[in-house]
């Protein structure tokens, strides 16, 4: 187990290094100049040149990359050219918002996907199954920003039950915080739920047709016991993998939801950084997102043996 953990931890280093090189190269080759973004298109060339010099942008790419990597080694991800706040401070402020959003969206997704997926699998081709599949397809087809705007308009502007966008931090109280996060979580979670539901349904169908389920039923076990104790447990293993990947996607893919709901999360931070060519922030965040993605997948891998006793990490699996 320990060897496996070390091996997995070490194996992420070249991945992350590759990402840093790739991201740095991409930002280098994208046309656009942060100095021009700040100074404005009317700025005299000497003014733009002065800003570029202040920010070290007149240095060759390998020098900039080397300086950045050296700073990372010291735990410094750099600072924004514009706000002059450190990347860690910006991320420290924005990440809790995105994490809360992703987590709540996952709760929404699971709350919709698990019962719907199970009932659809238990009663395949029933009206419920067909309806759930149809709703799932609609859910996949609806653009996230449209759903968000509709939710804001209905529950914010018309009914006035919930805030029409904006973020209330936890420090202002849990109820106020939850009120500001419900609509974004629904908007983001609905899309994720359709994927999870279809995945769970397919997994459950496979399991329910397996021989050991037939055996369990033949033994006279109650249907609920067969479902919950035998079928669910096995169907949840691949589902957990998808859940882990989905959490990674939710963490990294909240840009649209955060923009629509005006949430000061990582998605908006990175989008603005890219649009402003705020290289330090963009590269720093992308590196952190990649690291988070890798970490979540690692955690999911570690959860396997909890769910499936046949899996032993770091050992050859023997099937008898």
């Amino acid at each position: 187990m320990a060897r496996y953990l070390i091996w997995r931890a070490v194996s992420v280093v070249p991945t992350l290094l590759g990402i840093t090189v790739l991201v740095f190269l991409v930002t280098y080759f994208i046309p656009g100049d942060p100095a021009l973004v700040l100074a404005g298109a009317e700025a005299p060339p000497e003014v733009v040149a002065s800003l570029r010099h202040q920010w070290g942008l007149d240095q060759p790419i390998y020098v900039r990359y080397g300086v950045w990597m050296a700073n990372i080694a010291r735990g410094n991800l750099g600072e924004s050219y514009f706000s002059h706040q450190t990347v860690l401070r910006l991320v420290g402020r924005a990440f809790p918002v995105t994490f809360e959003l992703a987590l709540l969206a996952l709760v929404v997704a699971v709350a919709i996907a698990v019962p719907t997926g199970i009932i659809s699998a238990v009663r395949p081709s029933s009206w419920f199954d067909l309806g759930a599949t149809a709703v799932g397809f609609i859910g996949l087809s609806i653009p996230g920003f449209w759903l968000g705007i509709m939710l804001i308009y209905l529950f914010g502007a018309e009914l006035r039950w919930l805030p029409a966008g904006g973020f209330t931090p936890l420090s202002s109280g849990l109820p106020a915080n939850m009120r500001s996060m419900i609509l974004p979580a629904i908007a983001l979670g609905t899309f994720a739920s359709t994927q999870l539901m279809r995945y769970l349904r397919a997994g459950m169908l496979d399991v329910l047709n397996a021989d050991y389920i037939r055996t369990a039923r033949a033994k006279g076990l109650a249907a609920a016991m067969v479902l919950m104790r035998h079928a669910m447990r096995n169907a949840l293993i691949p589902f957990m993998t998808v859940l882990g990947v989905q959490m990674g996607y939710l963490l990294g893919g909240t840009v649209i939801t955060e923009s629509v709901f005006a949430l000061p999360g990582i998605g908006r931070l990175v989008l603005n950084a890219i649009l402003n060519r705020d290289y330090q922030v963009a590269v720093g965040i992308i590196l952190l997102i990649a690291a988070a993605f890798v970490l979540v997948n690692l955690v999911v891998d570690l959860l396997y043996p909890v769910l499936d006793p046949r899996v032993r990490l770091g050992q050859a699996t023997s099937w008898r």
Partner: protein, 538 residues
């Protein structure tokens, strides 16, 4: 907006009466519709009660600020924010559009018109308690002139040769001659205490304005609080706190206003104006079309726009009225000049100098050597997130397509767009809406677009391309005699239309919406927006 009380005599201050009349006249001469004029009148309508102190004004803007440096940021959202934190020597009156002293008590040209003496009031303090003196003004002007500081305003005050402090409240600005662009340029210059130095991007903004900076949380909010010790009681703030929230999505911004989550939506798409006007719970304030002008930059460094016929073809190619009606909700004005008729420098001959005529476009293409578009290559460069630029480009594309050539529309993000215009010059035609049509022409024509010696002239226009053009601009900029100035700018506008380096199509309004209890809000044409007069009647 504010509902009149059933009892009592309506009261109106002299300042507000002048504002109301001035804005209504400006709107009428700008060709606004009755609905727009009603908005204007309502926007400056006299509140019944005396302004109240207190409360929090929450404003949503379309993007976040991107710097805290007073002299470096160019975004309108930053102009709106910092106008309230800092004092400027002068300001542009939002109702009459005239430039007037603000921090300065007076501006006087002396020494045979080679020095501008500025008198300052005494007893002005910065938010950190330091006294504001002429030394701080000198420090500010000298810093902006220093290329190492990297301020885009450097060109605005380029005619300054030296700044001399006479005493605590007087300073002398040395120039070679009268420079009419300076006093309007001072509306952009935020006075900073010299003790802060020039590395201001990393420091908390300290000004002497009616509001103090509290915090900036990127992508969330900027918070300001009332300066209780503001030196000018007549311009002191009313609300205790101002929160400016960046909300990118337009429909979210409007929903927030409808829900009462924000008090004011600052600057939104004109196409939403009819919908919001229909909502009785919302007041809409529209600025007459006078400052921002839609035009197309044509790159004269290479074919096809090195040929005047092709530039003129672009002048005849847009259905301006159709664009205004369909895409600006009627809130624009067809113009071929940087100025509208209410501006003293407006040349009436520019009216209808170019209009929509596809036949003329075809003939001019043929005259330029591109019959039916044969051999023609050009495209429109459009920044994403600016729908009106794309709409104009699409209309122009359709006109040229009907004449035989269909130019491509290349959409890139705003940073790339700016870099291609300013640095690589790798473009053919690009629509934009530069500001400063409502200010003094000396400042309007000092901008890169119009003034050929400026390196940031995207068009590739050089002084020799239009004989006499630069001389006339300088003539207008360097005399105080109004008749001479008007004659000079009349000639400048005619020369521009003859050579047409960049066709000007129309001016656009700007629109803002707020809850009815937001009183005293008068929108500014150039986004140098003060919220000091705003109070909450609730």
């Amino acid at each position: 907006m504010e509902k009149r009380g059933r009892k009592g005599t309506p009261s109106i201050s002299r300042r507000r009466l002048l504002s109301q009349t001035g804005l209504a006249l400006a709107g009428a001469s700008a060709g606004l519709t009755p609905a727009a004029l009603r908005d204007l009148a309502r926007a400056v309508a006299a509140p019944q009660a005396a302004p109240k102190r207190g409360g929090t004004l929450t404003i949503s803007q379309s993007v976040d600020i991107n710097t805290l440096h007073p002299w470096n940021g160019t975004l309108n959202v930053w102009k709106v924010t910092k106008t309230n934190i800092y004092d400027q020597l002068s300001y542009q009156d939002p109702t009459t559009f005239q430039v007037k002293p603000k921090l300065a008590k007076s501006f006087v040209w002396t020494d045979n018109n080679t020095s501008l003496v500025i008198a300052l009031p005494s007893g002005v303090t910065f938010h950190n308690g330091e006294k504001l003196t002429a030394e701080d003004v000198k420090f500010t002007l000298d810093s902006i002139r220093d290329p190492k500081v990297g301020s885009w305003l450097r060109g605005f005050i380029a005619p300054i040769k030296d700044v001399q402090v006479l005493d605590d409240t007087h300073l002398k600005i040395k120039t070679e001659t009268i420079e009419n662009q300076l006093i309007p340029a001072f509306t952009y210059v935020d006075i900073v205490p010299r003790s802060l130095g020039t590395d201001l991007a990393k420091k908390t903004p300290i000004g002497s304005g009616p509001y103090k900076f509290v915090e900036w949380i990127p992508n969330d909010r900027v918070t300001l609080e009332r300066n209780p010790n503001y030196w000018n009681e007549a311009r002191a703030g009313h609300v205790d706190k101002i929160i400016l929230r960046p909300v990118t999505e337009l429909q979210t911004r409007i929903s927030q206003l409808l829900a009462g989550d924000v008090d004011l939506v600052y600057d939104f798409s004109l196409q939403e104006v009819p919908r919001l006007r229909a909502d009785k719970s919302i007041a809409v304030a529209v600025v007459p079309p006078a400052d921002q002008m839609f035009l197309v930059y044509l790159n004269m460094r290479k074919p096809p726009f090195n040929k005047v016929e092709m530039r003129q073809a672009m002048g005849w190619a847009l259905d301006r009225q159709g664009f205004i009606k369909n895409f600006l909700a009627g809130l624009g004005r067809v113009d071929n000049s940087p100025f509208t008729p209410q501006h003293w420098a407006f040349n009436p001959k520019t009216e209808n100098a170019y209009s929509y005529n596809p036949d003329t476009v075809g003939k001019l293409m043929e005259k330029a050597g591109y019959p039916k578009g044969r051999g023609l290559t050009f495209s429109f460069l459009v920044p994403s997130g600016y729908p009106e630029f794309k709409q104009i480009s699409t209309l122009l594309q359709a006109t040229f397509a009907a004449a035989g050539y269909r130019p491509a529309i290349e959409e890139v993000d705003i940073a790339q767009w700016a870099a291609r215009l300013n640095q690589s010059k790798d473009f053919f035609a690009a629509v934009d809406y530069p500001p400063r049509g409502s200010t003094d022409p000396a400042l309007t024509y000092s901008a890169g677009l119009f003034f050929p010696p400026v390196p940031a002239n995207y068009l590739g226009l050089t002084p020799d391309m239009i004989p006499g053009y630069v001389d006339e601009i300088r003539k207008g900029a360097t005399t105080l005699e109004r008749g001479t100035r008007k004659a000079a700018y009349t000639k400048v506008q005619e020369l521009w239309l003859e050579y047409l380096p960049g066709p000007i199509y129309c001016h656009r309004s700007t629109a803002h919406a707020h809850r009815p209890y937001v009183s005293g809000f008068v929108p500014h044409p150039a986004f140098q927006q003060s919220f000091a007069d705003v109070w909450l009647a609730k």
